[in-house]
Symmetry: C4
Subunit: 184 residues, 4 copies
């Protein structure tokens, strides 16, 4: 008797609403994925000046260049930031597995998160140039900010099951809070 929410037995009005909801979530998520992917890929721009040696390098020179501290710093920052953006994406995708509606406030929280993701090339560039404590602290600060935003987003969506599937259990909600915490 209890028909699941997406079957054909639902009324046209319900179906229209369901379609609208799916449309909203899919665009919301599509935009986010695009920003994550571009931010990741754009990081390589930072490495390109290192492809220019002036004259053609000898094998020894090329090898030395590849293991020079300056290049390695840039390469490691690139790898680090791609992995960090990747894992922020992963947490984001765990959250949105359970979030099934969105409203303007969630959109703004998410936009702020995307802003920080799009900002990542800047601290990455800093980190690849200067390895000292103050820059590392700045970089870590941006990561902490990303984490706080993610917590806020989940807190906003999950309070009173505001934007979640009504059937979601409280322990899943808590476990995701813990998960975000640990990811930082």
């Amino acid at each position: 008797m209890k028909s699941p929410p997406t079957t054909d037995q639902s009324s046209p009005a319900q179906q229209e609403e369901e379609e609208e909801r799916q449309y909203e979530m899919s665009r919301f998520i599509g935009l986010s994925d695009d920003v994550f992917a571009f931010a990741m890929t754009l990081l390589v721009v930072n490495l390109l000046p290192y492809a220019d040696f002036g004259a053609a390098p000898s094998p020894a020179q090329f090898f030395q260049h590849l293991i020079s501290p300056a290049f390695l710093d840039h390469l490691l920052s690139f790898v680090l930031s791609v992995f960090i953006i990747g894992h922020v994406w992963y947490t984001h995708h765990v959250l949105f597995r359970y979030i099934i509606k969105c409203d303007l406030r969630l959109f703004r929280l998410n936009l702020t998160l995307l802003l920080c993701v799009a900002f990542m090339p800047f601290p990455t560039d800093l980190l690849s140039r200067y390895g000292d404590a103050i820059i590392a602290a700045f970089y870590a600060g941006i990561l902490a900010l990303l984490n706080v935003l993610m917590q806020l987003l989940w807190w906003y969506a999950s309070a009173h099951h505001r934007l979640l599937r009504p059937t979601l259990e409280q322990n899943v909600i808590t476990s995701i809070h813990v998960r975000i915490q640990r990811a930082s």
Copy 2:
């Protein structure tokens, strides 16, 4: 008896048409989302020169740099433009919640809108360099243009329910016109 338009009871021809319509809208929207997301992310390029200090900065120098007017202007322009593009996207996604068909004219209107979105890094760059009234007016002019295009797009789609769901009520159409107006 009245079967909703997407059920399995519809004839193969109807279903084919429905699939085609969905294909059109999803690509149309996918392309738009990509341009929005990319325009947002590309703005960071503008900040990258500020990651270069020459010699490694002391903590005090780094902090001073972060609060220097030049950097703050760039950072604020970046944040402002990301939020503006985000909100243009939001309005765009409200409009396309109701637009269910597209034709060549709607495509061209939308393309012009995307052109202006893709153009945003230019006024943003100007704004981050020069804060005077004339530049601010130019920036505001681009935003006004985005708003006019959005109005035009909605006016074209909604006149005689041209590209809307036939069941959409007139007061929703009007309320969206008001909403776009206010967003400006």
Copy 3:
């Protein structure tokens, strides 16, 4: 009795095949849309040097700058190329409304098309710098190449209904050939 191809009455194996086919087409098309959108948005990079005046400009200087031939050439090339890429996308999306399968050869033809689309910032940059006949001819040559590739793609897909819906009528196939021709 004749059940449409996507109903629930089809066997699991058929359904699996149908799902695979949809997966293929949707990724194929998603990749293409991404390349179109990025190529469009990337064009703005070409304009950014014009946002730098040295000292803060007076309103008159700013206005003069906006109507200077060099800036207008860059702006017009940007607008022209966005519209051209947009219309190539439009033709692409008309073609793929009817193409329901893809194979490695279609993929390669499409990849070559995407290569030319991704190449567009280069002729655009040339055109914005030098307005003479030889550069215009080079730009037009790239557009002609895009057109030839589109014709080839449609010819390959439509010959013997190779990758089309079997029910598609011959006059639709011909009309699309004419449409691509005219678009050039």
Copy 4:
């Protein structure tokens, strides 16, 4: 009696799970496609300095420029890398035709693959500047790394049918291993 896994006869819980699975895979794949497309398109940045001649070139100068070894090297590297990224994408899309679940480890393997794809503009830039053996070996090394990662990804997903459709036959699994091998 045996109902296919996605019909309406399944219970709400099963349906919810199925929806979650589809959500996961579609975001996973969407992110990957974005990175592939962006890496491809970003390669053109490498060509843009060649659009600047100083004074307006005569037709003869322009033609000579187009066939100059430096420009041809850049153009060929661009074309080569777009085709290589395109074919890595093609193999990726063949793999994910059969992978229907994902877990954190698969995500990390895929992220490493995307990292290498996003890195491609760097070896491409090197190759376009210096054609000697050591650079070609470096470029080939990155391609070999991409191939190893793809093998690893398929090996991880296919061992014990971990993340595959349970009905997939062993000979398909083996044939894909061979296919990846040959693609290198």
